[in-house]
Subunit: 316 residues, 2 copies
């Protein structure tokens, strides 16, 4: 039996773009969009909503900004069969740069923040709601947050009008038991709200932890085609749809899109399980040092990386 | 807190050899052996015990046979700090080809069998015990076994003198809930015995399902360096040791061995998550068709493979 409350949010372009500065051409994004529509996926997160002041169009592709004219190129004249989402980072978007919903093809704006930014995130999310959007707040890197700070943030979120709050394992550090405990805490402290989960695959646990979240009662599930995403990548959407029992889902369009659109990128950029990402995951560290190694000519020198990463820890 | 009953069995050479017909040179096996000793791993499964009549030495490397003179080359004159295991397949080894323990460096013989071979497996395991070895029976492909057949096999195993029985997810088809249910059943129906688990990574769940097994009370855990193994591979031993809290374990020797010994093989043979293996895992099918695709020049034509594999199923 499937749980009708469960929604799948594909983050292929948004999170995958963190690996190539969103240098996806229009055809790539259009083919991903069509595949997700055909597969019955509920939301496509197509990029970040950023001010042009915060990032240069020369350096970053269109999906760092999600301008309406770019969205139109993807949707075309066909019936829109999937909701579109964009992520907004605190401090990288001005309120006036967010168009009213009536002028945008976006349906949802997800606000990503660290625990100390919760108040700013709630204000931005409320602003987006007032402009007509669905909203979520994605509280990042909670694996590094102390209990008191987390409880205070959840208290603030509980008082907010934001209906969907995400549990985010930014560093790929969680085991299923961590997801069990945190999901229960979020559900208990955020009565009436929907909980989402966004996992990274540093320890090959992104899909497993998403399942742990489902079992604990989480209903908004992030995933990407073939796991593409920053560092070790995300929960693979082809695995997630195969697991979920909702008969509206189709896996074949995803497989075809992976073959034609994702495999060529897999030859150009490195995401997925690797020893540097595994080490930062185990150590509950930001993946930036591991990404630097993976992008260098020395990505096979993993023992050196282990020695550096563990020099201030007890890992042996 | 760690559970002292937990033992880790590295199957790098035995299961990895299924991908290259055990064409590992002596130095490779010696370096793996030393790394596992230094890491504090409990057992090294170094290959299969097979009769020379069943396989040709021309086609297969030394670790298809595990002859004593080959074991000696690996151990050398150093102190033996790890137990050695070999796997025996029903029908591929004659009783008289198994040396008495006093003439062998092997400590354990693991008998792999399908459910209809349980009686033969028990007889072979008893024979190995009488010759002085520790033994296990690894009941393969239980994801395809009906309830009555499984119950009967467990009844036979309960009556045997074999002390360790393995739950084996040969096709990488299990979710953690399957492991929960089957582990509980094995523990309940095999009183007094130790339960082991051997997972495959078709759905990126080998490590997660091994953790699910630990939580359910399973104490013998199979893993391999960087997940090397047949098809989608196994639970990565570097992740498993990082998860377990036993202070005797060291991760660094594994990382160094992966860098120096496993990465070169990763350029020559394809194991790990891929769409064909994912499809056979989801469909609960033997990986042989997926392996044929991955070894062909058409390993990227995954939509064709999807269409063939699902032509007789309900997967869409």
């Amino acid at each position: 039996m499937f749980r009708p409350e469960i929604k799948v949010i594909d983050c292929t372009v948004r999170d995958g773009g963190l690996m190539n500065k969103w240098q996806f051409d229009d055809d790539f994004v259009r083919q991903v969009y069509r595949a997700l529509c055909d597969a019955g996926v509920d939301y496509m997160e197509i990029g970040y909503l950023s001010s042009e002041k915060a990032f240069s169009r020369k350096e970053y592709g269109a999906w760092r900004f999600c301008a309406e004219q770019d969205l139109q190129k993807v949707i075309g004249r066909c019936e829109k069969r999937i909701k579109l989402s964009a992520m907004a980072d605190i401090g990288r978007i001005d309120y006036e740069d967010i168009p009213p919903k009536s002028e945008s093809s976006l349906d949802m704006i997800r606000v990503a923040c660290y625990v100390h930014q919760v108040d700013a995130a709630i204000a931005l999310a409320h602003h987006c709601q007032e402009k007509g959007y669905e909203t979520t707040i994605n509280l990042m890197a909670v694996s590094t947050v102390g209990l008191r700070d987390l409880n205070e943030a959840l208290e603030d979120l509980a008082k907010s009008r934001v209906p969907i709050i995400y549990l985010v394992d930014s560093f790929g550090a969680f085991y299923s038991e961590d997801v069990d405990i945190l999901a229960s805490k979020y559900i208990e402290r955020l009565p009436g709200k929907t909980i989402g989960i966004h996992c990274h695959n540093n320890q090959q646990l992104a899909f497993a932890n998403t399942i742990a979240g489902i079992i604990a009662g989480i209903n908004f599930l992030d995933a990407t085609l073939y796991g593409i995403g920053r560092g070790a990548g995300n929960c693979p959407v082809e695995l997630l749809l195969s697991f979920l029992k909702n008969p509206k889902f189709r896996v074949r369009p995803l497989i075809e899109c992976i073959e034609k659109q994702i495999f060529p990128w897999a030859k150009k950029i490195d995401w997925g399980y690797s020893i540097p990402y595994m080490i930062t995951g185990v150590l509950n560290q930001h993946p930036r040092a591991a990404m630097a190694v993976m992008e260098s000519d020395h990505k096979e020198l993993v023992t050196d990386f282990f020695d550096q990463a563990t020099s201030t820890t007890e890992m042996v």
